[in-house]
Point group: C2
Chain length 206, copies 2
Amino acid sequence: MGPVNYPSKLLENAVNEFSSLPGIGRKTALRLVMHLLRQDPVDVTRFGETIIKLRKEIKYCSKCHIISDEDICSICNDRLRDSSLLCVVESTQDVLAIENTRQYRGLYHVLGGIISPVDGIGPSDLNIDSLEERVKEGGINEVVFALSTTMEGDTTSYYLYRRLQKYNIKITAIARGIAIGDELEYTDEITLGRSIINRTSFVSPA
Amino acid sequence: MGPVNYPSKLLENAVNEFSSLPGIGRKTALRLVMHLLRQDPVDVTRFGETIIKLRKEIKYCSKCHIISDEDICSICNDRLRDSSLLCVVESTQDVLAIENTRQYRGLYHVLGGIISPVDGIGPSDLNIDSLEERVKEGGINEVVFALSTTMEGDTTSYYLYRRLQKYNIKITAIARGIAIGDELEYTDEITLGRSIINRTSFVSPA
């Protein structure tokens, strides 16, 4: 038995659009659509126009490739940041996640993905040439790789390392270990093993 | 520490719109927005326009108040349905849920909500006059209440019962009891108690 017919094509179209989003099934989509129907038409029109405008007008920083309304983003333009430190991430979301920690005051470079032969994504599909260009220009002392702890992430980090090692810079990667709040018993053995090898001084930084 | 600034106003606006939807937090909203950014602009424009069109052009069946593109919906217009049987529900979603069971071939009446003094929703805010009108017109033999098993649902059913009892019709309510697959041990005592009182013949209907 397939799903029932919707009593309205308008309703069905809206449910179809919402359920095309990741993690949103038809039931949730219907709930969201019913919510919109209870809102003021002005607000719903603004919702729709915001989405259209976003996709049509979105720009990326010409320096670090983060999503930006300007040609150069506010992070790259921030004179108070340490421009000798460059953190390499996969996406704009990762920049936001790191910014949220308020522990990093350097600049970023957004690759726009990671190397994934399975998905047909190679180095030339990513913002890697522009990364090397930034390093070559000089002024950068350290590049920090902050990619996912996956095979693709590790492959990408290693590829970048090979591209950048000829320059006179320090190359680092964010620490991997037991997440704060995690129980040792339930930690996978690779993470646990690495966290023993990469043990740090017990006195924590201020 | 509040949330971090978004690098783009367009991005922030879109995240704000999505996170205004029920059950969608800022992190999920960002994920949905990033998904849209990876889609074809034509598809995203269609998404936005579908939402706007839905809210602007949505209509409700003038008979049963279900969401409908026509003045009279396809259910009310279906001559194969039993027009002597009327099921009263809260919303269009509930009609879809009942239709999905394929166990009901009568008509519906959508109240558009339930009586909830806490939320300031009284009988006059719901499609109750038009329900009485339909019953008064004649041709209906049975009205089935299919409202939530909550205090508001029960209050609404009781109110409707008092409004409709003067007409020569059968008034019923959907069965309440142990859900199929539920374990007795974990069933609340009110449900369990009612299911004993309202026990049915062991031979199940074909």
